[in-house]
Symmetry: C3
Subunit: 255 residues, 3 copies
């Protein structure tokens, strides 16, 4: 469990440091979940367009767009649960970072805006994580085609956010969530995420169900699971249960 600072503008250095932090935390067995939050007022205001306005669409620009796309994929594909904590405005590319997280907690002060079309751009890399993963295509149409800025409660109803709290209750909500996450089997999280990717890529119908039966039996055959379920009915806690007692604000700055 740790905390990566989302920063304000996605420039090549920040994208690179987020990649490195996520890669390191993913491989660290001691890390049970990953928290993305900003140390500033805004969660993330999108791509830093300096590289673009300075150098055009040459190799540098291509590289940063690709690195951003891969960052979203790394968040989504991470074997651990990635939590996004949103306490202020999120815009453009920042919405993609939030959308790629598995769990999104927001304060009342959060807002979401995809206003690329004002500048003639489109939120191309963001859309695979919004479309189908978070909301239907026509809801996305409203957000993107009318450049609407929606508040946290609307985002909660529309699938961009999973919990909304008053700013003063955010740390408490995070600790409550953290306690649940620390009791979850890390192996089950990785298996669930892999299973869902497989399911999303499978054609609708019987095949999906056959795979589901097989996946459950495979997982239930593991000694870790057998022991946990048997122990649970005897009142024992599974081996992977951990207490969650963070002190102070949850935050480690990624340099």
């Amino acid at each position: 469990m740790t905390d990566a600072a989302g920063g304000n503008r996605l420039n090549p250095a920040l994208i690179e440091s987020l990649h490195k932090a996520l890669a390191a935390f993913s491989e660290d067995d001691g890390v049970r979940f990953i928290l993305l939050r900003s140390n500033g007022a805004a969660f993330c205001l999108g791509m830093d367009l300096e590289a673009y306005t300075a150098g055009g669409t040459g190799e540098d620009f291509h590289r940063v767009v690709k690195a951003y796309s891969e960052l979203l994929e790394r968040i989504h594909g991470c074997s651990k649960t990635v939590v996004g904590l949103i306490e202020g405005p999120v815009k453009a590319g920042g919405v993609g970072v939030a959308a790629a997280c598995d769990v999104v907690i927001a304060s009342n002060g959060a807002s979401f805006e995809l206003s690329e079309l004002y500048l003639g751009l489109i939120p191309a890399n963001v859309m695979p994580y919004i479309l189908a993963m978070r909301m239907p295509v026509k809801r996305a149409a409203y957000l993107v085609q009318s450049a609407a800025c929606v508040d946290a409660l609307t985002a909660l109803h529309w699938g961009l956010v999973d919990e909304v709290h008053a700013p003063g209750d955010m740390e408490k909500a995070l600790k409550k969530l953290g306690r649940r996450l620390m009791r979850i089997s890390p192996m089950a999280t990785a298996r669930y995420k892999a299973f869902m990717e497989d399911l999303r890529a499978s054609p609708v119908g019987g095949q999906q169900k056959d795979r589901a039966v097989k996946a459950l039996i495979d997982i239930a055959s593991g000694e870790d699971v057998k022991t946990a379920v048997k122990g649970f009915s005897d009142g024992e806690t599974p081996l992977w249960f951990r207490n969650f007692r963070p002190e102070g604000r949850l935050s480690i700055v990624v340099q």
Copy 2:
């Protein structure tokens, strides 16, 4: 119209009796819709893990997992509308039963929890009915990966439930729904459900629309429909309209 008791734990005997009840009601022309409700406080608390803890993942376990998966498919694929009535907690495999229903009515006291990951398991068989059928993959991620327990109103907003009422208003709500369901053409229900399965399995685009045009013209060519539409504009009620006057609590226990 009838009522199958959902029971508390999905053990082989209950799964089998639900299969039999659904099969019988499906073929009975006098049954216009099927109601799944529990006689206990909980709608359904998931699979009974006794077979698993006792016998491991041998043939018996395989059989019950497959029977459960086929139960969800039978509910979803049933030619009649299946209504789930939820008045208390629903957990794990019970969420699959609710999710597979066509219409879900809940009381304020209902809650929904997919906490398999605590025990190292994943809700594999449930997910095809949640994912895309009820909510996007990232909303499901929150429920499953953080083992969140959500209340009836949240479930209403997130697609697990279609109506929420105070406990004292449940029978009234059910009767109101029943009155509508008894006026609906049973043949149209079967055709609609078959058409939607076809649509979901079709690639997005023109093909879907061509099939839709064809489906409507085929259905509109039926004598039953011609008579109903013509009669309707003359102020007559279609032949399949039935009154709905149940007495007392809607309930027939499946033994």
Copy 3:
């Protein structure tokens, strides 16, 4: 920017006039968005079944069903943003017209009903625009299989509507929306809509992301976008920004 009267019943003449209006507005560079609204109390009460009851399912009926299906496709596929303004009841085929729009604004007095099954029919042509484009299959099941009539707020939560306002605030809301729409690059709107169609038709996974990277770089390479982004960081407004100062009620009747 203009306004086509949705009328009450979708008869061949109205469908044809909507086709013509949409075709003309689509090709007119001066039109920045298209507004569909009704001059009557109801937005649209569905297909006029007179042709059907009079002539059965012969060529005339086939023609009107196909023209309706193509109307929805024209709205959805239009290169400009199509806004639906709903101030009263919407039923059956009318729900398809609303669902095919990119942005839907409703007053508190709006209601939505898909009650085809009462007459033995199914809303076949409507479903491709509801299913996946607006809501999951089980939510659609509730609406169609139980013929529920839902109010504007429920429609807002369930993806049929994007904004709900008191009747007296509708013109103000429309002007606020219009101001945003007039600042959006018309080329970006067309590109976004084409990109999303491509994305929806692509298999989930890496391919989607590769296309997204390519789409963004292609668009960012355009001189119009380069100039806009560069100008924006210098405090200039893009060339396509327009003021939106309509006078009186927004309405041009399609004859």
